[in-house]
């Protein structure tokens, strides 16, 4: 059987919807992973021990087990004990927290590396420790690790395909639906690959924009 890409146009709508869901779940998870990463980093470095230890454990859990398993656990596992999350929400929680843990590791390292004089200057002006962390230390730490956080975001985009297994009709699942109707896996998986690549390019452009804005402030 030869290749015939003319099977694709009738599924433009399906694929477009898949692209939108992929962007939506990636964006929501990226926001969660970013702010969650900051929160985890601050707690890991400055939280009281009773909070730090359970956080440490959860972080270890998210880093040490497969993301696919985490998604199953959040979607199917929690449903069994009565927490019935919509697939999209379960996907965002799984992806978001998974990458929040990775982002937090980056941000922690950068926070420790911020010059000691920054905290001193902020405290000397009368800022509380929390204000100093949020206004002075965290912004600088995040700025310093923006490129690797960007890499995490790109990995997150690619891993968003995993939520197809819990039934979020994002790009990969949309391609599968089209394949189920046409029995044309090569054409549709290739089309999905091209679309992922295009989303990726868009994301890189956005990340570059952020980095550029930060160029002077170091």
């Amino acid at each position: 059987m030869g290749l015939d890409f003319s099977v694709i146009p009738p599924f433009y709508g399906t694929l477009a919807l898949g692209v939108l869901w992929t962007i939506a779940i990636t964006a929501a998870s990226a926001v969660l992973s970013f702010f969650g990463g900051i929160l985890l980093a601050v707690v890991a470095l400055y939280g009281p021990l009773v909070v730090r230890l359970p956080f440490r454990f959860v972080a270890w859990l998210f880093m040490g087990t497969p993301l696919l398993l985490q998604l199953f656990l959040i979607y199917f596992g929690l449903a069994q004990i009565g927490v019935d999350l919509p697939a999209f929400v379960a996907g965002v929680i799984g992806l978001g927290f998974h990458y929040a843990v990775y982002n937090s590791e980056l941000i922690q390292t950068a926070m420790v590396a911020v010059d000691k004089g920054q905290m001193e200057a902020a405290r000397t002006l009368g800022l509380s420790r929390r204000q100093a962390l949020m206004r002075v230390i965290v912004p600088q730490a995040v700025r310093d690790v923006l490129p690797p956080i960007g890499n995490n975001m790109i990995a997150l985009l690619k891993d968003s395909a995993l939520v197809s297994v819990i039934g979020v009709s994002e790009l990969t699942l949309s391609a599968q639906l089209a394949i189920g109707r046409t029995y044309r896996p090569f054409e549709f998986y290739a089309a999905a690959a091209v679309l992922y690549y295009v989303i990726n390019l868009g994301m890189e452009a956005v990340l570059r924009g952020f980095e550029k804005r930060n160029r002077l402030s170091r």
């Binding site: 010059d115 004089g117 920054q118 001193e120 200057a121 902020a122 405290r123 000397t124 002006l125 009368g126 800022l127 509380s128 420790r129 204000q131 206004r135 002075v136 912004p139 600088q140 700025r143 930060n214 002077l216 402030s217 170091r218």
Partner: protein, 256 residues
């Protein structure tokens, strides 16, 4: 209050790091509007003493008072945090390495603390930034980032940032030591201007000429003790203590 007390008073300040005693029972007072220089060899404890005044380096024992209030009051942790944050708003500090916030513009460096702590509007904050930056001659650089400034300019912005909190007391911790020689003067000029405006200042410095020309009183410290203190003309011209004489002689040779 009818009772008179010194504006700034340090009572029996003592500080140890383990077995190392860096401050040994220091007491001194500074009147409102006075400008005091603390000089001495490195390791003499002068920076530690300065940093004890706003509790950046807490004392092991002893008291620090500012305008009738004890800075390092013993309070439960949370209450103490609120207390010290309020006291620090009244004590400006300028560091050797400027410590400007590199992620903020000059304007934001100056306005961040007043906006956050005094809840002033954006408009008031802008006016404040312009006023303070004009005062140190940095108004034209208001929308620059610190990375775009020279060392002297950075330090002038750091002074403006501290002044924007309208402090009662200014502490200078070797404010010109990290500067290239040709940039020292512009910072000294700003400090002289503050002196003329009767800002109370405590200045840790290695610059004897500056201390002699601006300060009302010079304190010579060595090995955690105040060895000698008095008006600059006495301490610099006719030091009574041998350690002061040795230090000044060495310093003079170093300057040549």
């Amino acid at each position: 209050m009818t009772q008179t007390h010194p504006f700034v008073e340090i009572r029996h300040a003592q500080k140890s790091y383990g077995k190392l005693e860096v401050l040994k029972d220091i007491s001194l007072s500074v009147e409102r509007g006075q400008i005091v220089a603390i000089i001495g060899p490195s390791g003499s404890g002068k920076s530690t003493l300065l940093r004890a005044i706003n509790d950046l380096d807490p004392l092991t024992s002893g008291e620090v008072w500012l305008d009738g209030l004890q800075v390092n009051k013993s309070l439960p942790h949370r209450q103490y945090e609120n207390h010290i944050n309020e006291m620090r708003q009244q004590i400006g500090m300028v560091f050797q390495h400027f410590n400007l916030f590199p992620h903020l513009t000059v304007r934001e460096n100056v306005t961040m603390a007043p906006k956050l702590l005094k809840k002033i509007s954006d408009k008031e904050a802008d006016a404040l930034a312009e006023e303070q930056l004009d005062h140190v001659g940095m108004l034209e650089r208001i929308d620059y980032y610190p990375s775009q400034l020279s060392g002297g300019q950075k330090q002038r912005v750091a002074i403006a940032r501290a002044l924007a909190m309208k402090p009662k007391l200014m502490l200078f911790d070797e404010a010109t030591s990290a500067l290239d020689p040709e940039l020292v003067e512009e910072v000294n000029l700003v400090m002289k201007k503050l002196a003329e405006e009767h800002m109370t200042m405590i200045i840790v410095t290695h610059e004897m000429d500056f201390a002699a020309s601006v300060c009302d009183r010079v304190i010579f410290m060595d090995k955690g003790l105040v060895v000698e203190e008095g008006p600059p003309e006495l301490v610099f011209k006719n030091p009574t203590q041998e350690r002061t004489q040795v230090f000044l002689r060495k310093h003079l040779e170093g300057a040549k």
